[in-house]
């Protein structure tokens, strides 16, 4: 999972220009990933070793993999693995940038390592105990009949894992998630919601009482709000927008799917009756309970 699109990262680092990025994004469909970029990505070869193999290729007519094996940079098993693993979409982008000479192999290697260390969130962000709870919760979620679509399950798995990561990163890890509840209508207390549309659609929301709202927002922004004002509500909208934005980045990176986020919405004291069933996960924090809701 990534928290920022690689192209944006390269742009902010001044490694490429907007025109170069544009060019790469537009040509992404026509490109094939080459072994060199993959080997660097998997940490099997350095940029320098890849350059050496490229140089050899100008002298002898052999495939990259063959030379890399002869030189002792890769073994047969690694070559097979590289040819068959699924790789993130951002590597395609990198391949074009390298092919077009916008990035050198070495710049790619350094940028990728920095990007991964800064922005990759792994499940290691969870403590073992929290991780077990969340995984149990997701398994339980899958038992609902409507969720027999493999793709849908995978998306939901990404969404829920990311949401817990976002909560841990920006709010805290002093919480306990409770089993998922499915209902037809939900009496909203203070609710911030956002619809995600595009290649996959999901209506997401967080609902809580007023004092929990104030505490959640205070923690998220690092302010000490004492009453429920415009800033508190805006902070909550910012939170859901941030999480869903990261979700869109991950889905764009890992599945090449494009999602559109609608502006977040805050509502108070209404009965929410969605067209499809609503699922919610109660998350009990030390300062109150937040219900995380989904309509699929």
């Amino acid at each position: 999972m990534y928290t920022q699109f690689f192209g944006n990262f390269l742009l902010n680092k001044h490694l490429i220009t907007p025109t170069q990025l544009m060019d790469a994004i537009q040509n992404k469909k026509n490109i094939h990933l080459k072994l060199g970029v993959l080997a660097i990505h998997n940490g099997y070869m350095t940029a320098e070793e890849v350059e050496q193999v490229h140089f050899k290729q100008t002298q002898i007519d052999k495939r990259f993999g063959e030379i890399a094996i002869e030189e002792g940079f890769l073994n047969k098993q690694q070559v097979e693995e590289l040819l068959h693993t699924q790789t993130p979409d951002y590597l395609l982008l990198s391949q074009i940038l390298v092919d077009n000479g916008y990035l050198s192999m070495e710049q790619f290697q350094n940028a990728m390592l920095e990007y991964q260390s800064l922005y990759e969130l792994t499940e290691l962000d969870f403590s073992h105990e929290q991780s077990n709870k969340v995984n149990a919760l997701i398994r339980e979620f899958y038992e609902f009949d409507e969720l027999n679509d493999e793709n849908l399950r995978e998306m939901l798995y990404c969404y829920i894992t990311l949401l817990f990561n976002t909560i841990i990163r920006f709010v805290g890890d002093d919480f306990t998630p409770y089993p998922i509840i499915k209902i037809g209508a939900y009496p909203i207390n203070w609710c911030v919601s956002q619809k995600i549309a595009g290649d996959f659609s999901l209506h997401t929301a967080l609902d809580m009482d007023e004092s929990t709202l104030i505490s959640f927002a205070s923690r998220y922004v690092g302010e000490n709000y004492t009453s429920n004002n415009e800033y508190v509500r805006s902070s909550m909208e910012d939170f859901i927008n941030l999480n869903n934005g990261l979700f869109a980045v991950n889905i764009s990176n890992d599945y090449s799917k494009s999602l559109i986020l609608q502006p977040p919405l805050t509502e108070n004291d209404v009965l929410f009756v969605p067209k499809a069933p609503l699922y919610y996960i109660p998350i009990q924090f030390t300062f109150g309970t937040v219900n995380v809701m989904f309509v699929i």
């Binding site: 699109f5 920006f170 910012d238 941030l242 502006p263």
Partner: protein, 128 residues
């Protein structure tokens, strides 16, 4: 960084993000900060104030940031516009750059990234 003399237009429906940006610019001696909350207001405020640099959110009610940037650029092709969003996907990035954005910022607010973007702006203007 001394941003005295710089006129900045900040357009976002999030009061939180506007405040974070405003605090950043105020702390850097910038005294000319215009805040608006949707795309149409951004277009109007641009024409009225001719800011040096515009920060424009993509996802907004009424008129989106993409619609706004197109109108601003067609009014003034030299407008220096930075777009931002919490969703830094290649689609958003592509739309923003195609529409003429100079830079793209991913939320949440990060003062270091904003600084980098301002430095880039000054570089493009041929120094400070």
């Amino acid at each position: 960084m001394n941003l005295k003399g710089l006129t900045v237009l900040i357009c976002d429906d999030s009061i939180l993000f506007r405040k974070q940006m405003k605090d950043f610019f105020t702390a850097n001696n910038c005294t000319s900060i215009i805040e608006v909350t949707d795309g149409q207001e951004a277009i109007d405020a641009y024409k009225e104030n001719k800011p040096d640099i515009v920060f424009l959110d993509i996802i907004m009610p009424n008129k989106t940031g993409i619609e706004a940037i197109k109108e601003i650029i067609s009014y003034d092709s030299n407008a220096y516009i930075v777009m931002f969003s919490s969703a830094g996907t290649h689609q958003y990035l592509k739309d923003a750059i195609l529409a003429g954005a100079h830079d793209f910022l991913q939320k949440p607010f990060d003062p270091y990234l904003v600084e980098t973007i301002i430095e880039k702006y000054f570089l493009s203007q041929g120094g400070n």
